[in-house]
Amino acid sequence: MIKISNLSFGYSNKKLLYSDLSLDIKGGNIYGLLGKNGAGKSTLLKNISGTLFPKKGEVIVNGSIPQRRKPSFLNTVYFISEDVTLPPLTLRKYLDLFSVFYPNFNVDELNTFLKELAVSVPAKLSALSFGQQKKFSIAFALACNTQILLMDEPTNGLDIPSKAQFRQLIASVMTDDRIIIISTHQTRDLENLIDQVIIVDDGQLLLNESVNTITERLIFETVSIQPNDNRILYAEKHLKGVSLVRENTSGEDTRINLENLFNGVTSKPQLAKEIFTTNTK
């Protein structure tokens, strides 16, 4: 369980990136953390991992304060940063040096994950391409079996087949007490994977809902003519018609379109808030 209470954070004291942000993140879920470039996705992950410290407020992760970076906390959290660089070591040496810190590390799982992600390990890990290094880091992080896994733009640098393999792999390792948070600005990479959506923009939490709740309260559809409805969250014209995201008043069940949801929530945050708070009552 991650509890963020009244978090204020900024890289300078004059301009805060987050102001009074509160957020609860529960176990057993894969969270998609969506935001524009520079919206503060990585910053939020770093506040959760304890590599950045809140200016005000607090972050509590499973009862621990991340910024203290105690070993008992760190061996339950794995953070994959956006840019990964592996040292010039053999696989054996790498495991020998790094896996010992994670009590639940499983080498058989690592081999399986590497196979699933189609990573063939050369003599030195540093010889892997950027995408391969990223996949190796993902496989290693998953094999560490930490309770919390934070991934910052994990699909950047992955080719199209690897993105699908990544989604399958993440879905396969999910357990009831695990929390996986994946930040991305490439929303399509997370479709069919996440079960919770967090959208941040301008330091504000615009949405934190499950995919089920979102599809209960919103309809994602393509129509030939845009209806005259003031409860339309987002509309985008294309060759086949108009893609719409609108309030679900008929109980219809549609498939979520993360990109349109993101565009809708960030362009009309007030309407999004109304739709979700109204339906909660």
Binding site: T51, F53, R69, P71, S81, P88, L97, Y102
Partner: protein, 264 residues
């Protein structure tokens, strides 16, 4: 789980710190030793063995030591390596102790051992090159001996080593990029500023200043006569204690505090 210090975990961190960057660590050590050897050989051929001993020791020990200290916690030049280091499940104390052990103890021990070997080799070579039948043999023989690590020059070099290494270690936690150059510039600026500030202040009290060594002595020259004004004994001891123990201790310990507060 002991979150402050665990000997097994410390062993893992130490092993990781040494073996994760073998090229950097071994390369640095090797370059330092080669530089020492070359400096010794070149200076000996130009200015004699006594000067070669001091030059090689100062150059090798201080330059190598400063590089080693700067790289011991130098993970922060990239976001990924910095984050990975901070997220490594070990305590700040364990990570810091590893850096201290590598740059302050192991490096120093290896370097001193190597220097002694080189020195013994050159000194023996010097002895063998002397003519035992020469009337000056005894004088020449006794004018050179193996460089002692407990003499005044060595002690001063050790003090400078612990100050510079502490500054480099701390600097690597403040400056993520090219920390070595930034700290070196900072130290040089501080030394130059101190020297000229001292000279300026001394000029307010004395005329005919020939040289002013900060925190130590002022040399006065009138015609061919030279006078030395030393600091009073008590003040001198206090300053010596400050430079030998308080400042390096503060620098090394501040690195631990800074590591705790380090954000990436």
């Amino acid at each position: 789980m002991n979150d402050t210090f665990n000997i097994k975990r410390f062993g893992w961190v130490f092993k990781k710190s040494v073996l994760e960057r073998p090229t950097l660590m071994l390369g640095l050590m090797l370059v330092t030793l080669v530089i020492t050897l070359l400096t010794y050989a070149i200076v000996q051929s130009m200015a004699g063995i006594a000067k070669a001993q001091v030059s090689a020791f100062v150059f090798g020990f201080l330059v190598g030591g400063s590089f080693m200290s700067s790289s011991a916690l130098g993970y922060f030049s990239s976001n990924s390596s910095g984050t990975s280091f901070l997220m490594l499940p070990a305590s700040h104390l364990e990570k810091w102790l590893c850096a201290v052990l590598i740059s302050g103890v192991i490096y120093a021990a290896i370097y001193l051992g190597f220097f002694r070997l080189v020195d013994v080799f050159f000194v023996n070579n010097y002895y063998q090159g002397l003519d035992p039948n020469s009337p000056n043999y005894q004088n020449l023989y006794h004018s050179v001996e193996v460089f002692g690590f407990n003499n005044e020059i060595a002690k001063n070099i050790f003090v400078i080593f612990f100050n510079i290494s502490g500054a480099m270690l701390l600097g690597s936690l403040y400056f993520n990029k090219v920390s070595y150059i930034k700290v070196a510039l900072l130290v040089c600026t501080l030394v130059i500023f101190t020297y000229f500030a001292n000279l300026l202040i001394a000029g307010l009290f004395f005329n005919h200043i020939d040289m002013a060594i900060p925190f130590k002595s002022i040399f006065l020259k009138v015609g061919s006569a030279i006078g030395i004004v030393d600091l009073p004994e008590g003040v001198n001891s206090a300053i010596s204690f400050l430079i030998s123990y308080v400042i390096p201790g503060t620098l090394w310990l501040t690195a631990l505090i800074r590591l705790k507060e380090k954000e990436m």
